[in-house]
């Protein structure tokens, strides 16, 4: 049960991956195989089971509303591919 190429393209768009045609074909098969395997989960009844989203049964982890020094701009920009006048620079939207 492979995914269709269209489905692969839709997911790739959501994930912002510009896959090659080759990659799309391979992924349609590989993802299909993995999801097929994952389908075994459907053999287990889970109607009244609460999903386990957090391992620790901890709630209300807070910090106080107290200012901490921000990181200096040079450090924040140090790894940036392109900067200008203290901003991160990116190509135009469209």
């Amino acid at each position: 049960m492979a995914l269709t190429i269209k489905e692969v393209e839709h997911v790739a768009l959501l994930a912002r991956l510009s896959l090659s045609e080759d990659e799309k074909v391979k992924l349609s098969q590989q993802l299909g195989a993995i999801l097929n395997y994952a389908d075994t989960l459907n053999t287990i009844p889970t109607d009244n089971v609460e999903p386990l989203t957090h391992i620790l049964s901890v709630h209300n982890v807070f910090r106080a509303d107290e200012v901490q020094p921000s990181m200096p701009r040079e450090e924040m920009l140090a790894n940036a591919p392109l900067v200008e006048a203290g901003y991160y620079k990116v190509p135009k939207i469209m």
Partner: protein
Amino acid sequence: MELFELTVHALQQKLASRQVSSEEIVKSIFARINKVDDKVKAFITLTEEDALNKAREVDNAGQYKGIAGIPLGLKDLFCTPGVNTTCGSKMLADFVPTYASTAFRRLEEQQGILAGKLNMDEFAMGSSTENSSFFATCNPWDLTRVPGGSSGGSAAAVSADEVPFSLGTDTGGSIRQPASFCGVVGMKPTYGRVSRWGVIAFASSLDQVGVISKDVYDNALIMKIIAGHDHLDSTSAALDVPDYTACLDGDIKGLRVAYPQEYFGSGVDAAIKDAIKKALLKYEELGAIVEEVSLPHSEYALPAYYLVAPAEASANLARFDGVRYGYRDNEAENMEAMFSQTRCQGFGDEVKRRIMLGTYALSSGYYDAYYLKALKVRRLIADDFTRVFKDFDIIVAPTTPTTAFKLGKQSGDPLTLYMNDILTVPVNMAGLPGMSIPCGFDQGMPIGMQIIGKAFDEATIYKAAYAYEQSTNFHTMKPALGVE
């Protein structure tokens, strides 16, 4: 014995008694690295000059408390200020953080000395370290075989005596499996035991920082240093950390040991099952009570994991968009193209595969059937363990279904590679602590025994592991590596 062959506690003694200096230890380590690492290929980055400077500082101060003056290696997803942190990926090949991971900071505060950053599967996704963007690491016991993954470099470096201990992370088995393949001790503590601050995230509800070492005592010692609440990590447990070395007295009379039938199925090599069974007999000899149990949902842990982990990864890896750090496709005409091309070029195949899988599992129309379903199954898996732990103290099982396989053998089919995690993944899904310790060999390759404990009961695991270890000599055996 050479200094590089010694354990942490042996080095501590030598330093404390002024038999050696930290500088001598560090020099010995780097001499060893220079000799063997072009074969093992455990390291991505070495920090020799800094290490020597730090060693001299420690020697000048003349105080050798804790792990002062002792070198270590870090899997390359621990942020180290001023030192390249690549996560094994082209995406972060040039990334130099200015902030430190808490686990590293705690070691540094005790004047542990960073020797270098260790190779890994890209973004911690893999079981062989072959998914590293840079190169594959080799198993010191047989250089044509994989060291396991994703903390392959961390395990190989300790196994090859390149560092006395290292830190790794374990999301689905990434400490325990390479420790098993490389014949060293690897411990993944309870989820929340060690801070995840500054650890580049793969799957937030599964990732845990752990220790890889030459023996159980070392592991206990280091774990005590790095574990404990961190206000920077909302998922870190606000619980006291016991002194794990204090419970290593070898007395396990009356210890209730369970072994789950589902972990001894046909998918596991006979030699491995035999080794574990022998270990269980040893436990009985030592006074433990050993019984078979069932963890009925075991077979569903892997498929559930391969929905939950990629889903969380798809969100954690979305920040790699070329804007603020890391790789960017500079030829892109516009922003959308920059995002998509950057990510497609910067990530390797396995990472892209998991991002796609995770995105799909969360997408509209599929969320309930895949992601939500997997989380419900996760609860059932955790409940299985809870039930067993009502009557038992530890669970013993094999760590891996096979010993280390040949490099290049499994790269074709992703599902086959995923199967390597089948015995380790349930422990992450339940958030429990789990360790792998050497318990034998099959045709010259190490076999690992997995010891699983109750939540926040690392102490019992350490106790049980130590008792077994001291009754064997697997921990003293070292790979030949084709060098004298």
